[in-house]
């Protein structure tokens, strides 16, 4: 992507309405282009400031108490609005994106196989499930390689604070650790205890926004 194309797409990027494939291309560019990165940072600041256009609204009685009570008993799950099964959302219109990213996911899966092939004494079989964005875009894969769990996400950014969390069926959340950049993808691998109790895995940004999520392969 060229600088002029990135600057054309920058407003939609900072407004959060750019589709997954184009967003990935823009982020890949800004990863190594200081000028575009600065332009995007400036526009992003303006979008943040647009919140000032909203007049404050006085909370109803007891609002603060309800927030405090909810925070105290919070089970660590996402709200229902963010947990609609993204993989079922409007798949037809996303086929071009899915096809485009599928190749990347396949490559990631192959990378996972080769990553495990040398030391593995097991069967070498791989099962993987998709990691999808809240909008239903395919972003990576969860793999089960001879019992070890590996997550690979093709998110081209130099923001190193993404973390992988596991959400259990009882609603509890545990951080498995940060994703690290390796061989062209953000990755995590390791053991996940009690896999039968796992509802899903998710990648979370430092601001709490869920980047993508996926389930353990059956």
């Amino acid at each position: 992507m060229r600088c002029d194309e990135v600057r054309d797409a920058a407003p939609e990027l900072v407004l959060g309405t750019l589709d997954g494939a184009e967003r990935a291309l823009v982020l890949e560019h800004v990863d190594h282009c200081v000028h575009c990165r600065e332009e995007i940072a400036a526009l992003s600041g303006t979008v943040s400031d647009m919140a000032l256009l909203a007049a404050p609204v006085r909370p109803s009685d007891g609002f603060a108490d309800r927030v405090v009570a909810r925070a105290a008993t919070f089970a660590g799950d996402e709200p229902a609005v963010a947990l609609v099964d993204a993989s079922r959302r409007d798949v037809r219109r996303r086929w071009p994106v899915i096809i485009a990213v599928a190749a990347a996911v396949a490559a990631l899966a192959i990378g996972l196989v080769s990553q495990r092939a040398a030391p593995s004494t097991g069967t070498g079989t791989v099962a993987f499930t998709p990691m999808v964005t809240p909008d239903g875009g395919l972003l990576g894969a969860v793999s089960d390689v001879d019992g070890a769990v590996a997550v690979a996400v093709s998110y081209p950014t130099n923001w190193p604070d993404y973390r992988l969390e596991v959400i259990r069926q009882d609603g509890s959340t545990t951080t498995l650790g940060p994703l690290t950049w390796w061989d062209g993808a953000w990755r995590w691998k390791g053991d996940v205890s009690d896999p039968a109790t796992v509802d899903r895995l998710r990648v979370v940004r430092p601001d709490g926004k869920v980047t993508c999520w996926g389930r353990l392969p059956a």
Partner: protein, 190 residues
């Protein structure tokens, strides 16, 4: 330092450390702005409180990940509010409606405001003046995009080509930025 006087980022540090007084002050300080933004995007008081509550709880839970170098505490929280409100708004789109009927849409109809001396020293006022100075078609497209509508959706609603929608969003945001930044910035947080 009394917690009442604590700067926003200190409150967040208190949240991360599990300080109940800091948590309560954080909620008290930001609730009305969080609800206000959610209401502007949703036009529903109850839903706005639900979204604001969820955002505050998330901020509380993830306070340890807040990085002051990436922006003010209020910008961080209000970004969470906006994202949650947009998610909620998307769920409503099974029934098509004109997003300009939402409270945020009223901003598109505002007459350009004269910039007075007071407005020069208030970020919200300067931003409103800058928005009001945009051509109304750019204002509409920008506000719809702010409410989470893609350029393709904006094009369909406005009955304009996709390229025109993208241009209006891009030009509107860039003009807003240039106009808004015409004066020295002031800290936007309380």
């Amino acid at each position: 330092m009394d917690v009442d006087d604590a700067p926003d980022d200190v409150l967040i540090a208190g949240l991360a450390a599990g300080d109940q007084a800091a948590a309560r002050m954080f909620v008290d300080r930001f609730s009305s702005r969080a609800i206000g933004l959610a209401y502007q995007l949703l036009g529903d008081r109850a839903a706005a409180e639900d979204v604001a509550q969820e955002a505050l709880v998330r901020a509380w839970r993830h306070a340890g990940t807040y990085d002051v170098r990436r922006g003010s505490a209020s910008a961080w929280l209000l970004t969470i509010v906006r994202n949650l409100a947009i998610d909620t708004l998307r769920l409503r789109r099974a029934v098509p409606f004109d997003p300009m009927t939402l409270p945020i849409g009223r901003l598109a109809d505002d007459e350009p405001a004269a910039e007075d001396e007071a407005a020069r020293h208030d970020d919200a006022s300067r931003l409103r003046v800058a928005l009001g100075a945009l051509p109304v078609e750019q204002r509409r497209c920008l506000l719809m995009a702010y409410a989470g509508y893609t350029a393709m959706e904006v094009a369909a609603i406005e009955h304009i080509p996709l390229g025109t929608a993208k241009t209006r969003i891009r030009t509107g945001l860039q003009k807003l930025r240039l106009s808004y930044l015409g004066e020295p910035r002031h800290e936007a947080t309380s």
